[in-house]
Structures are given as C-alpha cells and as structure tokens.
C-alpha cells in the first residue's frame, strides 16, 4: 500500500508521553515511523483516556474523557488516530463505539462536543501502531528499511490483553499473529506461547501483588520453555509489570538476568539502524542484541 504522505493524528496518552513510564515506547514508535516516512501530529492538549479505572468512579465522565480527544482529532481534520498504549486504544475505541451505537451516550456527549454528532465523526478511526505497521506499511516497506537482520534470533511477542480485545478488529482476539509477522520481516524467529494474550494483571499489581506475580510467573515460564532470547512488549503497563515481576519473582523463575524485555518498536528500530538514544534503549541491552544481528546495509 502506498502510505507516503499519509497523515495521522497521534494520541500518546499519559504513559507513552514524554513524562510517562512508557516514554521509550513512544520515542521508539515515532522514530520507526519517521524512518518509514510517516509523520504524525500529536493531538494538542490531549487528556487522559481514563482507561478502565475512571469508569469505575464515573461512567459518563469516562466517555467525556475519550470524547474530548476524539473531538480534537476531528478539529485537526485528522480523523485517523494512532495510539500505542493498549489501555488508551481500548478505551478510545469503546468511547467511539458507544458514541456511534448508543443513543444515550451520544446525546450526552454531543451536548458538549457537537462535532462528534456531525457526519464527519463517521470518519474517526482508532489505529493501533501494530495494525498500522502490518496492514498499511506492510512487509515490503519494512523489509526494505532493515539494516541489521536478526538472523533467527528467537523473539517472544507478548501482546497482553487489551490490544486485541474486545473492541479491536485487526487481529484474532486470542491468537493474533501481527507481531510475529513484524518479527519475521526483520529476520527474527517468532516464539509461540499460548499465553501471549493472557493478562499481566494490569493495575492489580498495586492491589493484589501476589496473585499477579503468579500469573506472570506462568507467562515467563512458557516463554522460557520455548527458548525465547528476547521478549517484546507492546504495552507500557505489561512492560512495567514484567520488569517488576522479574525482580520480585527472583529465583522463582529461571529467566536469564540478561534476557532483554523491550518494546517491539525498539527492536524494529535497532534493526532499522536507528540510534539507541533515539530509541531509549539501554546501551548494554542494545549491544547484547546487536551482537546477534547481521549487518545488511551501512548504518
């Protein structure tokens, strides 16, 4: 598909913004897109999507949170919104679905944001960066951009739960294959696990730590069993939880201390030859990985 000149708005959300814990996911995604010739425009003065937490306190309010961002994207005349964080992706998708399908919500929302009641709102699309890379950019463009091939490095893709469920539309809700495609395009060997879309526990890490640790233990074990040499994630919270669990679980799991857990966009960025500062990847992890890559073009 010809994506040159394609314009999207970009919703970083709290986690992937420059102050968030997932800022490196944000940096690396933008760097990868830039390398592919795609520029995105950040929605100005965006607000938190409310994820699944704010709804517990105030349902109506949670739709308003999403709606404000949607309205801004429409005002920018960039109705296709690129999102990285799965929680934002889910809750913005939900807001959009409800506005389009639920009259009660629509009436409430359009009182404040009338633009969402206009025909233009039917052009709104929430796009996850995985979806965009696989279905719009595609195999050829990604392969062409590769400068270091992974040459069979065993990569485990951990999707977490909310990228593919329940409002998502671009891949199977339980057994997605998009990340595996990207991994193989850059030369990696995808490692399968039946737990790849099992939940990491999310925010429950703060309230029910022991329970969540047990869940993540299983996830680690299944990847270790398959011989994963690197785990890639696509969610700031999964990422944090995996890292935190790795320290907490300690000897309960037999995960190599050096096993890199990075964002998939950082991995793609490395193979594109993008600098490690731009990707926000630590030097020793980068070196560890680059060691196993094969140079195919000058970086």
């Amino acid at each position: 598909m010809d994506t040159s000149g394609k314009a999207l708005s970009y919703y970083p959300g709290c986690s992937c913004s420059r102050n968030g814990i997932g800022r490196h996911y944000g940096f690396s995604s933008l760097a990868v897109l830039r390398a592919l010739g795609i520029t995105v425009s950040e929605i100005e003065d965006w607000n938190c999507c409310g994820s699944n937490l704010y709804r517990v306190v105030d349902e109506k309010g949670s739709y308003l949170l999403g709606a404000r961002n949607l309205a801004k994207a429409l005002e920018m005349n960039l109705p296709e919104i690129l999102i990285l964080c799965p929680a934002c992706f889910l809750s913005m998708n939900r807001t959009l679905t409800e506005i389009l399908a639920n009259t009660k919500v629509r009436n409430e929302i359009t009182k404040k944001y009338s633009i969402l009641g206009s025909p233009a709102s039917s052009r709104l699309r929430i796009r996850h960066v995985i979806d965009f890379l696989v279905n719009d950019i595609g195999e050829e463009a990604i392969k062409n951009r590769v400068k270091r091939r992974l040459e069979g490095l065993k990569i485990a893709a951990y999707y977490g739960c909310q990228i593919t469920r329940p409002y998502s539309y671009f891949d199977d809700p339980e057994f997605p294959t998009s990340l595996e495609k990207i991994i193989s395009w850059i030369g990696g060997q995808p490692v399968e696990s039946p737990l790849k879309t099992k939940c990491c526990g999310g925010m429950l890490m703060l309230t029910n730590e022991e329970e969540v640790l047990t869940v993540i233990e299983k996830i680690f074990n299944s990847y270790v069993r398959e011989g994963a040499e690197c785990i890639v994630t696509a969610c700031p919270l999964c990422h944090l939880n995996l890292e935190m669990a790795r320290t907490r679980l300690g000897k309960r799991i037999s995960v190599d201390k050096r096993l890199p857990i990075i964002y998939f966009t950082q991995l793609v960025g490395l193979s594109f030859g993008i600098g490690i500062d731009e990707l926000g990847i630590s030097k020793n992890i980068a070196e560890h990985l680059i060691e196993k890559m094969v140079l195919t073009a000058t970086v």
Binding site: N47, G61, N102, K112, G201
Partner: protein, 170 residues
C-alpha cells in the same frame, strides 16, 4: 426470588445482558487468569445478580480481582461483555459503600483525583500517593526497582495540566 436490593445495582446494558442471556456454561470462569483467587467464580456472580443476591454479589472478592482483560468477553457464547459487567458491579459497589477490598477503591479514588485536577495522570505519582494512603511501607520495597527505572531514564514526576479542566466535566 426477586430481591429487595435491586436498587443497589445499576441498570446498565452489561448487567441486563448478563441477567437475560447467560447460559451458565462457565466459560468465563475457566478463562479467567485470576480465577483461583476468587471466592466465587464469575459465572456464580452472574447467577447471584440474576437471582437477586445483589448484596452478596457486591460483597464478593471476585469483582475486585477482575483486571478487565476481556478473555471471558470474547469467549462467552452468549456474547456477554463480562468485563464490563464486572466494571458495572464495581461501580455499584463503590457507590453504595460496599467493599471487601480496601485497596482497589482507594486506587480508583486516587486515579480520579489526578484526572479531575490535571486531566492527566503520572504513574509514579499515582503509585506514591496510593501507597501513602494505604501502606506507606510498601514504598520502601519499591526503592530498588525505582532506582533501576531512574537509571534507565523512565522515571519522571512531572505532570502537565490540560489547559481547561472544565472541558472534561459534565
């Protein structure tokens, strides 16, 4: 067995769908990654609500253990969005002062405070404030991991406020 307690529960689409359509197959329960920590299975909670044991349903641990991963929702043969069902129960429980989990409501509260004040959140600040409210000692435990994040440059405490906070208020 119509309950006196129906007023405790909100009349939302997810709740109604669960009451009207559930065939009690247990797919949701067996799909749940946290099921063995629950006092009642998700299917049983649906049944409680259907049969009018609202009080009991709102008191379960189950609803607070739901992390809304929606695996149940995409598998349910009756196409019930059980994740949203659990969220609706949490909401009803919070509103009516039920809680058998002290931590989760506090987390919600803290989260909402940030949003209502700034329109955005900062995870590190959220964690600290939440821990101060609940168990300050936990903060000590977090220090080593926080140092790691700091080294990697992923820890920041700054939080930008949106321009007009009224825009997110009804």
């Amino acid at each position: 067995m119509v309950s006196q307690n129906n007023h405790l529960i909100e009349d939302s689409y997810a709740i109604r769908a669960a009451i009207e359509k559930c065939i009690q197959c247990g797919t949701c329960s067996a799909s749940c990654p946290l099921n063995n920590y629950m006092d009642y299975t998700p299917r049983q909670v649906v049944l409680m609500v259907r049969e009018g044991f609202i009080h009991e349903a709102l008191k379960t641990k189950t609803i607070w253990l739901c992390s809304t991963c929606y695996l149940c929702a995409v598998r349910c043969p009756a196409k019930i969005n059980i994740g949203e069902f659990m969220t609706a129960l949490k909401r009803s429980a919070l509103k009516n002062g039920y809680s058998n989990n002290q931590l989760y409501p506090k987390l919600m509260e803290t989260y909402a405070e940030y949003i209502n004040k700034y329109g955005r959140i900062s995870e590190p600040r959220l964690m600290i404030k939440f821990s101060l409210k609940t168990s300050p000692f936990k903060l000590l435990k977090m220090i080593p991991f926080s140092m790691k994040l700091l080294r990697e440059g992923t820890l920041s405490f700054s939080l930008e406020k949106i321009q007009n906070i009224e825009e997110i208020k009804i």
